[in-house]
Symmetry: C2
Subunit: 249 residues, 2 copies
DNA sequence: TGTACATCAGTGAACGCGCGTTCACTGATGTAC
DNA sequence: TGTACATCAGTGAACGCGCGTTCACTGATGTAC
């Protein structure tokens, strides 16, 4: 972000940010479908047409919010990962990242819905959103890669290693990953899963998916009247997932 | 469903169903937020006010669609479970049910979004929706209960039983379930998880959550450009989850 | 440093649209005697 | 079986609302010489 040189440019950057802030608040109040350029303009006491100097359309504003949301969540995940001590406690890092994702989602439920909820009808995400969307998966992949590098994911013998973590299903387990899926995993390419056995990649992707399932279920009320101790539940489930992947020693 | 006696009652039942059918189609075309009473009426060539003879409001129509969706998905899950042979192949039944859920979701993406997607802004689900929502979880609970009853989930020794499925984390594992969560599980009550250790309930709920995470991620495009062999991926992930719970021998 | 011109932010009116819901009404269907 | 009344389905007009987007415009800010 280079500093704007002229007063005009500074004002523009500021107002652009303000419009997004107000839009975010409206999103939180009304949901995605209820986000309206006119309402945002009204709150800012400017004419609705003025907003078009900053965003060419409602979709463009939505895209900006989506990119910001991915970046905000991605940054939170990265911070949690980097902040965990000791760094070689991979299970702890996984839990820290998972908690950060959940905390962010609970704090920004409508932004979460914007990026992980049902697609907005009539809106097609442009390619600008791809890169920021990969930040969270990248953090997780880093953990799995680190685990593989330290040999902790060493494929166990066919009988499972007693006393250890959930064995990663034995040497024959890799045979369980069918060919097409194997190709997909290969296509993910370096360096995301370098040195990680295919079977573990499957488990890691499963855990990643499950994490967002947990958060989505909590936000959409599927646990209502079933699980009330949400923190405990989330941690217990995540620990189980860490074991499933093999991150926990 | 008792047969309507008079011609009027028969006509009413039929038109009610027709309205829901058209509304479902509009849902599929426009998304939840785009569902409009007027548009439905237009397609049926009746006045918009006439629809109010059948549904008191847009929300009531929405509720009816939600109930139908839960019932349709629940029935699909139950059919898959009951249809699996042999019945004591619990891992196979789990996979069959999971596949049925996915197939239904892929076939009815907007109805899926209606019940598992982001909440519709301004809509509060009435209590009529609770019972149909429990059908799928009930099927899964039945599987876990059956596994526990046949001793297949027998809590393994602290070292893990070599050669078996992923051990369910050892006798000390139950100590990992914190007190509040334990209370929640106890409150779920009979007969849903009778005879199932708390640790396994946690894993079962995790798997249930993960399944919907898998489906939601697929529908919302999170796997785009990453995993192209969706069937293989889904099956592999589900098999992993079955192992996680301990359903697979 | 001062002037001439180009760029940009913001305005207000307008276009054309669709929505949920209400209301007084007409005419057909069902029911009680 | 026939009549009198009540119930119900459906109509069409209206209320009041908000939306995204365009357009010709004014006046301020920035830039080049």
């Amino acid at each position: 972000v280079n500093a704007p040189r002229t007063a005009r440019a500074r004002a523009r950057a500021e107002l652009t940010a303000t419009i997004k802030d107000v839009a975010r608040r409206h999103l939180a109040a009304e949901g995605t479908a209820g986000l309206s350029l006119r309402a945002v303009a009204r709150e800012l006491e400017m004419s609705s047409s003025a907003v078009y100097r900053y965003f060419a359309s409602r979709d463009e504003l939505l895209t900006a919010l989506i990119v910001d949301a991915y970046d905000s969540l991605g940054a939170a995940a990265e911070r949690a990962d980097e902040g965990h001590d000791p760094a070689d406690d991979l299970g702890g890092r996984w839990l820290a990242v998972a908690r950060a994702v959940r905390r962010w989602a609970l704090g920004h439920p409508h932004e979460y819905a914007l990026i992980y909820g049902s697609p907005v009808p009539g809106y097609a995400a442009p390619s600008d959103t791809i890169a920021p969307a990969t930040r969270v998966p990248t953090v997780f992949a880093g953990l799995v890669r680190a685990a593989a590098a330290t040999g902790r994911l060493a494929v166990a013998g066919p009988a499972g290693s007693p006393g250890g973590p959930e064995p990663t299903a034995g040497a024959d387990a890799d045979a369980d990953v069918p060919g097409g899926l194997r190709d997909d995993i290969a296509a993910i390419g370096s360096p995301l899963f370098d040195g990680v056995p295919d079977e573990v990649v499957v488990r890691a992707l499963t855990a990643w998916t499950a994490l967002f399932g947990l958060v989505s279920f909590e936000l959409s009320g599927q646990y209502d009247n079933v699980i009330e101790h949400r923190d405990e539940w989330f941690d217990a489930a995540c620990r189980g997932l860490a074991r499933h992947v093999g991150l926990t020693a």
